[in-house]
Amino acid sequence: MGPTYWWMLFGMALVTYIPRMIPLTVLDGRKLPPLVTGILSNIPFAVLGALIFPAVFYVQEGNFLFGLIGAATAFLIAIFGFGLMTVVLGTIGVLAVYSLFM
């Protein structure tokens, strides 16, 4: 990957550490406005939506169906309440069978 990767890694480490460190040291006890806390707690769910769609349909170039089957399988297994690893492995399993026979 080269030196760019290491600069990126350094940046990622820095921007991850700062929000973890500031409230425990610099702020120490001050409260945030509720609107700000609300927006901050929304981010994890919003980012997942943006990450999944539409990219999931294009994981295999020119094969929309591959991504569609994968997404549907993952949603289905997850809705039934199975854990992370089961969803990931189950989806890979279904697509492995699909890639072998299609």
Partner: protein, 240 residues
């Protein structure tokens, strides 16, 4: 006293270490398919220690996104830790700032949940270090192991593996969506916005994800605060 506090922390953190095992292993596997070397993949787990953003960086690297944008996305995804350490500050015993700055590095969604729900009234720094040490160790070691395993997979499996990242994102999202309309709205609005930016070619991938995430979080929060509903609690079930 300090030593037994640390050992109690290790014991409390064991469940996290076990929970991280598959997630770190999968990260190592995916890092391998993304083209990172064993050294590069393990270094990311050592220095960043934030699962969701590490996974996201892999999909952005694959999409050829500008590294600076990857860093910005990492920031947006990880500022939620700000909320956690802010609330953790109330739960921790007073300690010198360098000590607090040191364990701050290990605050993830999971270590936060375990420390914050501890039965003790005030948690000692040694206890926090114990929880974090075992979780962090598991994260780093199993990242490396996952990468080594990934190098030995057959080709048709490696093709199917390309879906793994998205399956993981879906597995993270779905449990929070159940019975929570706000989470469903947050994810759907962000997804629709990203589709809009994607098909109109208005923004490149990195910017599009950043903009859709922030717009959705702000719009939904404004709508909900206008109609006076309580904000959702901080996400509990998400990897590192």
């Amino acid at each position: 006293m300090e030593r037994s506090e640390f050992n109690n922390g290790l014991r409390a953190g064991l469940s996290i270490a076990i929970g991280y095992f598959p997630v770190a292993l999968t990260f190592g596997l995916l890092a391998k398919t993304t083209g990172l070397s064993l050294f590069e993949a393990t270094a990311m787990s050592i220095f960043v220690f934030a699962g969701a953003s590490q996974y996201i960086s892999l999909s952005l690297i694959t999409a050829g996104v500008d590294p600076l944008l990857i860093v910005m996305n990492t920031f947006i995804v990880n500022i939620r830790h700000f909320l956690m350490t802010a609330s953790l500050n109330e739960k921790m015993q007073p300690a010198p700032k360098p000590i607090k700055a040191a364990y701050a590095f290990g605050v993830t969604d999971e270590t936060f949940s375990v420390i914050a729900t501890s039965k003790q009234d005030k948690v000692s720094s040694a206890h926090a270090f114990g929880v974090i040490a075992i979780a962090y160790g598991s994260w780093v070691v199993f990242t490396a192991l996952g990468h080594v395993i990934g190098a030995n997979l057959p080709l048709f499996l490696q093709a199917a593996m390309s879906i793994a990242l998205y399956a993981l994102f879906i597995a993270l999202l779905v449990p929070s969506m159940k019975g929570n309309r706000k989470v469903v709205l947050l994810a759907s609005v962000a997804a629709l916005l990203h589709c809009f930016f994607y098909y109109t070619e208005l923004l490149s991938t990195g910017w599009a994800i950043l903009a859709s995430t922030l717009l959705s979080s702000i719009i939904i929060e404004l709508v909900y605060s206008k109609y006076g509903r309580a904000p959702i609690p901080v996400v509990e079930k998400e990897e590192s």
